[in-house]
């Protein structure tokens, strides 16, 4: 659980910095909304991928 917390913290900070340094004049959304969207898609995607790998490894054991 503590590893998950560290992973989420790191992903959150990376999301914030990524959104702040890649914003252009044409960015439509607010920084907060864009950061939330990026964080949810990045962290959620990685967790989903990890879950799929876990399930597949359980199936083949």
């Amino acid at each position: 659980m503590s590893d998950l917390a560290a992973f989420l913290l790191l992903t959150l900070v990376i999301s914030i910095v990524h959104v702040l340094v890649t914003r252009t004049a044409r960015s439509p959304q607010s920084v907060r909304r864009e950061t939330t969207r990026y964080f949810l898609s990045a962290a959620g995607g990685m967790l989903l991928l990890g879950l799929i790998i876990e399930v597949i490894s359980e199936l083949f054991q």
């Binding site: 503590s2 590893d3 560290a6 913290l9 790191l10 900070v13 990376i14 914030i16 910095v17 702040l20 340094v21 914003r23 252009t24 004049a25 960015s27 920084v31």
Partner: protein, 162 residues
């Protein structure tokens, strides 16, 4: 022309070196390297700078605390240390060697090795990620100076000195 140069030089001397540094890109980059986010604040992007300052410095401080300052030691992490120097404070801290007392010299016992805190490596990881993220923010500062039209305009009330 000579008079212009002399008057410009004397004007710079009168203003002092600090205000001059704050307005040059090199000064802002140096400031951003030493204290992440400060370069953005100096260049007029205050909101971005404050967020970067909180995020990167928070990660750096948490990492240093968790790793017992081992992340700033070249003795413990000879190669990764240079990744951490993306934040200038890591390099400054390494001069004081705050983790030198933690080094196990000679034949360290297995028991002593097991005493290393669980979060030690995670802390080092956080510091090195902060270093890489600060390099990214320094590149953003440089990029915004090269072509300001690519960047967002400052929010209302934000002053842009570029």
């Amino acid at each position: 022309m000579l008079v212009d140069i002399i008057s410009a030089s004397s004007s710079r001397c009168r203003d002092g070196i600090l205000p001059l540094m704050l307005h040059t890109i090199l000064g802002q980059l140096l400031s951003s390297w030493l204290l992440p986010g400060s370069g953005h604040i100096l260049s007029g992007r205050k909101n971005t700078g404050i967020w970067l300052l909180l995020a990167i410095n928070g990660l750096w401080i948490l990492g240093m605390w968790l790793s017992n300052f081992e992340a700033s030691s070249q003795q413990f992490h000879p190669w990764l240390f240079w990744v951490g120097t993306g934040c200038g404070s890591t390099l400054v801290l390494s001069w004081f060697e705050p983790a030198s007392d933690l080094a196990l010299r000679g034949l360290a016992t297995v028991q002593k090795y097991q005493d290393v805190p669980k979060w030690n490596d995670t802390g080092a990881l956080l510091v090195y990620c902060a270093g890489l993220l600060n390099l990214l923010s320094c590149l953003d500062l440089l990029d915004a100076r090269i072509d300001p039209s690519r960047r967002e305009t400052p929010a209302d009330g934000e002053e842009n000195s570029r």
